[in-house]
């Protein structure tokens, strides 16, 4: 690798490269990620290239070519990188250049020069060209030549896909320092905010993009992230939401112009319809109504119409419901309960849609924070989460040698034993004579780990017992008392059936006490004193504990050896 850039000379940015949109960002000297607008002023740059008489258009300008120059416009190609033709879904390219098989790879046949002849341009080449444009926009903005990047990818991006992307980037003069997973980048974007506090929690990232939606359930433990489950879906997507509006306006158009024909049946009309529908969808994220207006939609007839948000929410309701089911499915796949989810980060462009957030709001308990523009004033723009995370990661590692980065991300470093159960202590509470479990280290915490807890003591002080246990999360369901039915029927007989809806059962997260690991005695604890418990668990599951009175002398230490390894697995 003769061309490898000296790490001191690196100018690294973060790139999010989606099928629909791409973004670029850098981290300021104050450590703040900033999203860069390209020459056209776009921060969400359509991942689209179009060629008009040999001139290359990119982004919004290229997207506009769907109408007149669809055949020479290449879009929605990211997922084709590093894949074989037989395993790609060409559906999103319906209204632009179609992918074709080219040797063992995928290509597009387009007129990308002023010549009449079509050229076969591989998906790698297209990617290179697109990344070059992004790189140039960033360089322009930063005033220095960008030569490296952290790029976000979906969690199911294969090694072959990464290799292909890495190569394409290299051709564009970008050294990929690291690929990071999109949902993890979103978590990092939130955690990198100065006001963020380090906490152990389960975060769900729900990314509703243009061509796909991806959900990840992530354990965040002391700032270290572990993906517990993911789902990927190509049915619930921004495309489908656009389609709802396309169908709506097409029908409205046909109602108005009886002999106008169906605009969906003509490529150009359909492209216009789609572009305007997407614009209307975006407008409805902010406003409660939006205008649809297309000159010469079909048969030379102009068409304007208005739609309000409620109407749209209703038309697309089954997609929102499907999305909520998808997200819940991810929780099930992680073998968790909605009550286990502390936060949902809404990512991807469609998360601007208020109904997307409210559909998740009603599918999850109140204890789950929903971070979306319409539910939280402090949320980060969902379209920018990936790229911000990438920019932050880029700033963290840009001075590393490539070899260093490779070694640091090696499975010997990343593969880590995770606690299968929470570890904590038993406390006394009024109703439970056997004691109540209180977690100190949560399940799915990577090892080694050290955590401490400050615990109250009995009112009179004295000798206390510390029982170290394992605990398993458990959902306690309380059925509501059935209301006396007769009375209800008499009173509300002429009301709507709202009152007949079943009372919701009460669900709470509690703990089931598991194995008792160890016991310790602290004697002569002062009245009103507190006890500090410190637990360190090694990768081989040795537990070192220290128990002492806060502010007191001495204390008790103990060692609980880990289980003998049964297999010759990692230690």
């Amino acid at each position: 690798m003769s061309e490898e850039i000296d790490s001191a000379q690196r100018v690294a940015i973060g790139i999010s490269f989606g099928n629909s949109y791409s973004s670029i960002a850098f981290t300021t000297s104050e450590g703040k990620a900033e999203v860069i607008a390209n020459e056209e002023g776009d921060r969400q740059i359509p991942s689209i290239l179009s060629y008009v008489d040999g001139e290359e258009l990119q982004g919004t300008q290229a997207k506009a070519q769907f109408v007149r120059n669809a055949k020479n416009t290449v879009a929605y190609f990211r997922d084709f990188l590093g894949q074989e033709f037989k395993s790609i879904d060409p559906t999103p390219c319906h209204q632009s250049a179609h992918p074709v098989q080219h040797e063992s790879t995928i290509a597009f046949k387009i007129r990308d020069t002023a010549e009449e002849a079509e050229n076969t341009i591989t998906v790698s080449e297209i990617t290179t060209r697109h990344l070059k444009r992004l790189k140039n926009s960033a360089s322009e903005y930063l005033g220095k030549k960008v030569n490296a990047a952290v790029i976000t990818v979906p969690t199911n991006f294969s090694d072959a896909q990464k290799t292909a992307l890495s190569k394409a980037a290299k051709e564009a003069g970008i050294e990929v320092l690291q690929f990071i997973n999109e949902p993890v980048a979103a978590v990092l974007a939130y955690d990198a905010r100065p006001e963020a506090k380090l906490a152990d929690k389960i975060i769900l990232v729900a990314d509703l993009g243009g061509t796909r939606s991806d959900v990840a359930v992530i354990a965040s433990r002391g700032g270290i992230y572990t993906i517990l489950a993911t789902v990927h879906d190509y049915e619930v997507s921004g495309f489908k939401l656009d389609q709802v509006l396309m169908d709506h306006f097409a029908k409205e158009y046909m109602k108005k112009h009886k002999s106008g024909g169906d605009p969906r049946e003509n490529d150009r009309s359909s492209a216009k319809l789609k572009l305007e529908s997407e614009a209307v969808k975006k407008a409805l994220s902010i406003g409660t109504s939006a205008n649809f207006s297309v000159e010469s939609l079909a048969n030379g007839l102009d068409f304007t119409a208005t739609i309000n948000r409620t109407r749209y929410d209703l038309l697309a309701s089954k997609h929102f419901a499907a999305y909520a089911r998808l997200v819940t499915h991810a929780v099930e796949k992680a073998q968790l309960d909605p009550l286990d989810i502390s936060e949902i980060i809404l990512a991807g462009g469609n998360s601007h849609t208020p109904k997307v957030a409210s559909a998740l709001r009603s599918a999850f308990p109140d204890s789950t924070t929903i971070l979306a523009p319409s539910t939280s004033p402090t949320s980060i723009n969902p379209s920018e989460l990936s790229v911000r995370g990438a920019a932050i990661q880029a700033s963290l590692i840009q001075r590393f040698e490539l070899e260093d980065i490779e070694q640091s991300t090696h499975p010997m470093v990343t593969v880590t034993p995770h606690l299968s159960h929470a570890v904590g202590v038993l406390c006394i509470s009024g109703e439970e004579s056997s004691g109540v479990f209180h977690a100190i280290v949560d399940a799915e915490t990577p090892l080694p780990v050290r955590r401490s807890a400050i615990i109250a003591t009995p009112r009179e002080g004295g000798d206390v017992l510390i029982k170290l246990c394992e605990g398993a999360g458990h959902i306690k369901v309380t059925k509501p008392e059935p209301k006396p039915k007769k009375e209800k029927e008499e009173k509300d007989s002429d009301d709507d059936d709202e009152s007949e809806e079943e009372e919701e059962e009460l669900r709470e997260k509690t703990w089931k006490v598991g194995k008792v690991l160890a016991e310790a005695a602290l004697k002569g604890v002062k009245k009103g004193a507190k006890v500090e418990v410190q637990i360190s668990i090694s990768a081989s599951l040795d537990v070192n504990c220290i128990f002492r009175e806060v502010g007191g002398k001495g204390g008790v230490r103990g060692l609980l050896a880990g289980p003998k390894l049964v297999q010759n697995g990692s230690a």
Binding site: A199, S408, V413, S420, V425, I428, P458, A521, V531, A561
Partner: protein
């Protein structure tokens, strides 16, 4: 990480607890799960620094480290695959109503059981294969008919409302009830179990009770048939509607078709309810358990009857016995009474005789006492008085007193003594209020 704050107090150390240096190890931690942590963020870099410890890892290490890692991403390969019927591949999209949506997606085995996730995966798999661009690449025609069938199937199966409508009429999921002959070959539970499992998909109430087997209890079987005779079905028949004309011109025609559809749906629903009812009737008629329970019941009822008869017999016998006993007792009693009467008659007679004798003695003693005359010859009046007085005394005393008086008087010869005894007797009688003072003329003191 900040320390966890726990407000609930620790328990008091139990009496007699002991541990070496106040610590007691009890059980190991449960085994850990190997997972990949994300190589992202400042905390990861700190972790990496510690873990690498200036070592260099090789490709072998990579393989070694990953052996036990818990996978997060699914492999998309395999799982759903079934051969595609060449005839099906020639279908026209416009005939979508008649297509088997599950077969189109390769989910014939799953049908109403297919999960949303399975449908999506199946769809993607079919798209990858049948997208018109793929066919064009393979040198085929630009024919996108089957691709459209796939899209239609997916549209219906991923829409919960439309899927229900289709599932309502999905013939592929129907399990025909076995004939009487088939059933009687002895596979009732297996054959009918499948039928009910399939019908159960239409139940609004879930879970649906199972047919069970020969060991099911009577209560279970009764619950089963009760459930099926009161089956609450969501099955509906709008999928089979005739197309309603879409244009606004022909309103009457539109309304006419709509009305026709409504009626057809209602009719089909009624027929379906009847069909299910007959099905349950047939199963019930063939269900051996019903006969078994009837027999048991019959036997039980018989047993009851026999028991009752035996009881009656026993009661009758008992009554007869009591009666006999009573008669016997009565006879005994009568005999005893008779004997007693005889006895008392004898006693009375004896007493009478004794009294007579005693009276004689008493009267005799008057003579002995010289009729209470001081000395010498007794005037006749005195004799009368004395005899009257003694008779008066005799009438005032009962037999026992008479006997007592007699025994006092017997062998007494001295007139004074005899008189005194009489006088004492008079005194006793006066004291008892049976005589008045001075009523006895000869015995006054």
């Amino acid at each position: 990480m900040a320390a966890v704050q726990i407000a609930l107090p620790l328990p008091v150390l139990p009496e007699g607890w002991s541990g070496e240096r106040d610590f007691k190890a009890i059980e190991h931690l449960s085994h850990a799960t190997d997972r990949n942590i994300e190589p992202v963020g400042p905390h990861f870099l700190a972790h990496a620094r510690r873990k690498r410890h200036k070592r260099t890892f090789s490709e072998d290490d990579r393989i070694q480290a990953q052996v036990n890692v818990k996978k997060v991403e699914d492999d998309d390969s395999g799982e759903i695959s079934e051969p595609e019927d060449p005839l099906m591949l020639q279908r026209e999209a416009k005939d979508w109503k008649g297509q088997d949506h599950y077969a189109v997606l390769g989910l014939s085995k799953y049908r109403y059981r297919a999960t949303e996730d399975q449908i999506k995966r199946a769809h993607r798999k079919k798209v990858l294969k049948h997208h018109p661009d793929k066919k064009a690449a393979a040198g085929g025609t630009e024919d996108d008919q089957f691709f459209k069938c796939i899209q239609k199937a997916t549209e219906i199966l991923l829409d919960p409302a439309k899927r229900r409508q289709y599932d309502s009429v999905d013939e592929g999921a129907n399990v025909e009830p076995p004939t009487k002959k088939e059933t009687q070959k002895g596979n009732f539970y297996k054959l009918w179990g499948k039928v009910f499992d399939s019908e159960a998909r239409f139940s609004k109430v879930q879970p649906v009770p199972k047919l069970g087997n020969e060991n099911s209890t009577k209560a279970e079987v009764e619950h089963f048939y009760n459930f099926w005779y009161n089956f609450d079905s969501w099955r509906s028949f709008e999928y089979l509607d005739e197309d309603v004309p879409d244009d606004n011109e022909n309103r009457d025609q539109k309304r006419h078709v709509e009305r026709k559809n409504q009626n057809a749906r209602r009719k089909k629903k009624t027929e379906d309810t009847a069909r299910l009812r007959k099905l349950v009737d047939d199963a019930l008629a063939l269900d051996e358990r019903i006969r078994k329970f009837k027999q048991q019941e019959h036997a039980q009822r018989n047993k009851k009857r026999l028991d009752k008869e035996a009881e009656q017999k026993r009661l009758a016998e008992e009554a007869a016995k009591t009666k006999e006993e009573e008669a016997r007792l009565k006879a005994e009693k009568e005999a005893a009474e008779k004997a007693e009467k005889l006895e008392s008659k004898k006693a009375k007679e004896a007493a009478k005789n004794a009294a007579k004798k005693n009276k004689r003695v008493v009267r005799g003693s008057v003579k002995e006492a010289n009729y209470f005359h001081s000395a010498g010859d007794v005037p006749a009046a005195q004799i009368d008085f004395a005899l009257n007085d003694v008779d008066l005394i005799i009438t005032k005393v009962d037999n026992e007193e008479l006997a007592a008086l007699t025994s006092k008087l017997s062998s007494k010869k001295d007139p004074g003594e005899i008189k005194q005894i009489f006088q004492e007797e008079v005194k006793r009688l006066v004291g008892a209020g049976k005589l008045k003072e001075g009523e006895t003329k000869s015995l006054s003191a």
